[in-house]
C-alpha cells in the first residue's frame, strides 16, 4: 500500500515496532509532565484557591472529582475511536489501544464515584445518593467492567477484538440515552437538588488548579495507555512464540 505522501501518523503506527519506537520516545517526557502537573495542580488546589462560600473547604474535593469525570468520558471516547479503528479501518493497533485503555477508564470512573460519595456525605448525610450525575457515572462504571470482563473472557485476541469493539460502540451509543433517562428518572423522585456539584459559579482562582489537575489526569492516562499497550504487545508476542515453540518441537520430535 504505497501512498505517495509520507504515510500519516496513524498508518505509521500500524506496525508494533513503529509504535514501540514512538512510545519509548514519548514515555519519559509524559511521566515528567504528569508529575509536574500533579504537583502544580495539588499545590493550586490546596494553597492558592479559596474555599467555597457555600460548602467551605469540602469544595477542594472537586479538584480530583471533576477531572475524574472528564477522564472517564474522555477515555471511553478514545476506546470508541479505537473500536472504529478496529471495525472500519482494520487498524491492527486499535484493539491493543482499546484493551489497554479499558481498565484505566474504569479506574478514573471509580475515583469519580468514590470522591463523589465522600463529597456528598457532608452535604446529603448519606454515603450514596442516587443523584442523576453520580448514577450515570455508576452505569458508565458498570459498562467499563463489562468490557473488561469481555476482554478477559476472550482468549483469542484477534478474533475477540471485533466483538469487544462492537460492545464498546453499542455502549457509546447508549451513553447519551442513559444520561437522559437517568436525569428524567431523577427528576421524577427528587425535587431539583439544592446541592449543585461544583456550585453554579466557580471562582476564577479555582479554574486554574481544576484544569491543571485535568491535564495531570490526561497525561497520566497517556502514560498508562502506553505502558499497557506495550504489555499487550508483549503478551501477544509471547503467545506467538509459544505456538512457534510447540510447532518446532513437533517437527523435531516427530521426525525421530
Amino acid at each position: 500500500m504505497e501512498t505517495a505522501p509520507k504515510p500519516s501518523l496513524w498508518l505509521r503506527l500500524a506496525n508494533p515496532a513503529a509504535f514501540n519506537a514512538l512510545a519509548n520516545v514519548l514515555l519519559w517526557p509524559l511521566i515528567v509532565g504528569t508529575i509536574a502537573a500533579f504537583g502544580y495542580g495539588l499545590y493550586g488546589a490546596f494553597m492558592t484557591s479559596p474555599a467555597d462560600y457555600q460548602q467551605g473547604e469540602t469544595v477542594r474535593i472537586m479538584y480530583i472529582h471533576v477531572p475524574a469525570a472528564w477522564l472517564s468520558l474522555f477515555v471511553y471516547a478514545g476506546m470508541a475511536v479505537s473500536a472504529l479503528g478496529t471495525l472500519v479501518f482494520r487498524h491492527p493497533m486499535a484493539d491493543v489501544a482499546q484493551k489497554a485503555a479499558a481498565p484505566v477508564g474504569a479506574g478514573f470512573t471509580l475515583i469519580c464515584l468514590l470522591t463523589g460519595s465522600f463529597w456528598g456525605k457532608p452535604m446529603w448525610g448519606t454515603w450514596w445518593e442516587w443523584d442523576a450525575r453520580l448514577t450515570s457515572v455508576l452505569i458508565l462504571f458498570l459498562i467499563y467492567l463489562g468490557i473488561i470482563a469481555l476482554w478477559r473472557a476472550i482468549d483469542e485476541p484477534q478474533r475477540g477484538a471485533r466483538a469487544v469493539a462492537i460492545m464498546t460502540l453499542v455502549g457509546a451509543v447508549n451513553l447519551p440515552i442513559i444520561k437522559f433517562s437517568v436525569d428524567w428518572w431523577y427528576t421524577l423522585h427528587q425535587p431539583a437538588s439544592v446541592f449543585r456539584m461544583g456550585g453554579p459559579t466557580i471562582d476564577r482562582a479555582m479554574l486554574t488548579p481544576l484544569f491543571v489537575m485535568g491535564l495531570a489526569y490526561l497525561l497520566l492516562y497517556l502514560v498508562l495507555l502506553i505502558v499497557r499497550m506495550k504489555t499487550e504487545l508483549m503478551v501477544r508476542r509471547i503467545e506467538r512464540l509459544q505456538i512457534v515453540a510447540a510447532d518446532k518441537q513437533a517437527r523435531q520430535g516427530g521426525s525421530r
Partner: protein, 56 residues
C-alpha cells in the same frame, strides 16, 4: 497543614481514595509489564538456544 475546616476527614479520605485507586492502577500496569517482559525474555532465550542445543 492548612485548616481544612469541619469536614476535613472527608477531604483527606477522598484524596486518599483517589490516590489508592491511582496507585493500584499504576502498580498493576507496571507489574504486568515487567512480568510480561520476563516471560518474553525467557521464551526468546529458549528460542535462541533451541536450534543450537540438540534435543535435550
Amino acid at each position: 497543614m492548612i485548616d481544612l475546616g469541619p469536614h476535613a476527614d472527608y477531604i483527606v479520605a477522598s484524596y486518599a481514595a483517589a490516590g489508592l485507586v491511582l496507585g493500584l492502577l499504576i502498580g498493576a500496569s507496571v507489574l504486568a509489564n515487567l512480568a510480561a517482559a520476563r516471560r518474553l525474555a525467557a521464551l526468546e532465550a529458549r528460542e535462541a538456544s533451541k536450534p543450537a542445543a540438540a534435543k535435550q
